[in-house]
């Protein structure tokens, strides 16, 4: 299956041109051969006319003048051989240098005949045979014959074929070059379209431009409408999720408060137990809502594949965490291989790094290191700290939804599961290892765009 449109068109064009030339070649050759044959016939006829007009009848005997009036008949040449036969086929005269012919004319009163004759040695000749009655006497009837080797004719024809091949080859080459140039010009608009799509995918452009050929405009306008509606839908989706979160979680806060009040009043007995169930259920619902809402919010985008600078995201997260944990001086070391981009949406990257970095911030002693490196066709982000680390047997479990190993610290239990969801939705991988700093190391890997 040939995938390139240009290659397909070139192949079709070249095939068409070759077929056209293959059809044209025999026709041209035939026409030329006919013209050549006619010119040979005409020349032989002229020679014979000269010969007949030079012939004299003396006492019923044929006499040819010596020398001949036309020097052509005197020069031994391969071009024309002339003979005169009587009506019985006996040779009466031949031009000088002409070999004795194997040809024997049949005097049958039919007049002129132009034909092709092959000698025993394989050599072929054009033969023009004229039956002449000199002075009208039956006894004075002769066959005047002019012959010419076919070889020069064939040589000319061969030369013509060679020239035709050469000419057609050159024409085919020129045609293909012109065709290529024409196609490059025509396909430039498709290339521009593809370039604009690249820009849209990279997030540098919102829609396709209007500068496209009329044949493509319908496609580009449809795509633009699709892009716009997708963008609006995503925005609406996000807004609805925000509204939903607000409208669900504010009543949950009220329920949580009521649960706390009830628990405060009735610490013992049945009511206290109910209050504690209420608080437990509220906490569970709230965690589920958080998880599902955030999951829906950071799902992978449609056409647009943004690449995001990691540094500003890390900087704003670090500024936030320094504000929230003012009593904890943390050294954050960031080493990002240029250009420091990850193929992920900014909101998703902020969620991913926010969850991992806050964990590290809470658990580290004083050092956190974040590094981004390019390894072959993959981008690898390492986030590590000098905290207590995660035991190998807990690593699988910790990534499950809602799992929390550090229940003594405030925070939500869905952070790591969220991080893993985001990584998965961008076809990345996550591994938990031991860090040389002493704590846990999160190794995140994405395919390079």
């Amino acid at each position: 299956m040939i995938r390139s449109l240009r290659f397909r068109l070139m192949l079709a064009g070249a095939l068409l041109a070759v077929l056209f030339m293959l059809g044209l070649l025999p026709a041209l050759q035939g026409a030329f051969s006919l013209a050549l044959r006619e010119s040979v016939e005409e020349r032989l006829a002229t020679e014979l006319t000269t010969l007949v007009s030079a012939a004299r009848l003396q006492n019923g005997q044929l006499e040819m003048p010596v020398p001949m009036p036309d020097e052509r008949f005197e020069v031994p040449a391969e071009r024309s051989l002339s003979y005169v036969f009587d009506r019985q086929g006996a040779l009466l005269w031949h031009s000088p240098g002409s070999p004795l012919p194997e040809y024997s004319p049949q005097y049958d009163g039919q007049g002129n005949r132009f034909s092709r004759f092959t000698a025993r040695d394989g050599e072929a000749y054009w033969v023009y045979d004229v039956e002449v009655k000199l002075l009208g006497g039956q006894r004075a009837a002769f066959s005047f014959v002019a012959m010419q080797s076919v070889e020069p004719y064939q040589r000319t024809l061969g030369a013509l074929r060679d020239r035709l091949y050469l000419g057609f080859g050159a024409a085919l080459l020129t045609l293909l070059v012109l065709f290529w140039a024409g196609m490059t010009w025509s396909l430039r608009s498709l290339r521009r379209l593809s370039h604009e799509l690249d820009e849209i995918e990279a997030g540098q452009r919102e829609g396709l431009s209007e500068h496209h050929p009329s044949e493509l405009l319908r496609l580009t306008r449809s795509l633009n409408r699709l892009l716009a509606s997708e963008g609006e839908q995503r925005q609406r989706y996000r807004d609805s999720l925000g509204d939903l979160a607000h409208s669900l979680k504010t009543p949950l806060s009220v329920l949580q408060g009521i649960g706390e009040t009830l628990a405060g009043r009735a610490a013992q007995g049945e009511e206290g137990k109910h209050a504690s169930i209420l608080r437990g259920q509220v906490a569970r619902m709230s965690q589920q809502i958080d998880y599902q809402l955030q999951r829906a919010n950071v799902r992978h985008g449609g056409l647009v594949r943004r690449q995001v600078q990691v540094r500003p995201v890390l900087d704003s997260l670090a500024a936030s965490l320094r504000k929230v944990y003012p009593g904890k001086p943390v050294n954050l070391h960031i080493v990002l291989a240029p250009p420091g981009l990850l193929p992920i949406e900014e909101g998703a990257l902020m969620e991913l790094l926010g969850n991992l970095l806050e964990n590290a911030w809470r658990l580290c002693l004083e050092d956190i290191s974040v590094s981004l490196s390019v390894i072959g066709q993959r981008l690898e982000l390492l986030l590590e700290d000098d905290g207590p680390g995660i035991a190998p047997e807990q690593r699988g479990r910790i990534l499950q939804r809602g799992e929390r190993l550090d229940r003594q610290h405030p925070g939500q239990g869905i952070g790591l599961a969220m991080a893993q969801d985001i990584i998965r939705s961008y076809q990345g991988t996550l591994a938990i290892e031991d860090s040389p700093l002493g704590g846990a190391r999160f190794r995140i890997s994405f395919a390079k765009v």
Binding site: G242, T250, G257, Q294, K323, G347, Q412
Partner: protein, 225 residues
Amino acid sequence: MKLLLVEDEALLRHHLHTRLSEGGHIIEAVADARAALQHAADATFDLAIVDLGLPGLSGLELIRQWRAQGRVFPILVLTARGSWQDKVEGLAAGADDYMVKPFQFEEVEARLGALLRRASGFTQPTIVAGPLSLDLNRKQATLQGEALVLTAFEYRILEYLMRHHQQVVAKQRLMEQLYPDDGEHDPNVIEVLVGRIRRKLEVADGFKPIDTVRGLGYLFTERCR
């Protein structure tokens, strides 16, 4: 401490109002950002609790406007979504901490306490001035290692003066720590309360940390840490 609560949901506003008042704070509760801007312009607050999802002018915009006006009181943000994008935006706009709904009240109290301590330059939950120490979590004063019996009003006045140590505090500001409403109250109440606190502190070898600055207010002269 005097707190401004901005929450549009009436039940949650009421719940927080009740619980925070029980914790010894004076609460002004409003339902939207416009009212919050007005209140902050009319009175001095020690801290604000702001819901990000307010109708009309958003909580984020309210925080930005306050910071642009030069208001420096700490701000605790309440957010429903709890995404990092929201948290980072809120903190970058000028908030100091965030809580994701639904929250446990104990955690709100802990965060509030930390923010108030930080705002007055204290990092520990105990303020110490010479023989006197104040446990901000337990709301208990200790003099020379022995518990000091203070009424709720006396404690509020003492805590406020110690938080604003070596600054002249106007009587009106102390009044605001006692009464949530703007109604008329006898200013002599403050004099009576300060007099009682002085007498209770003098038990320890003539310890007199509270000076009267005539016509201006009171000054806690001892250095607190």
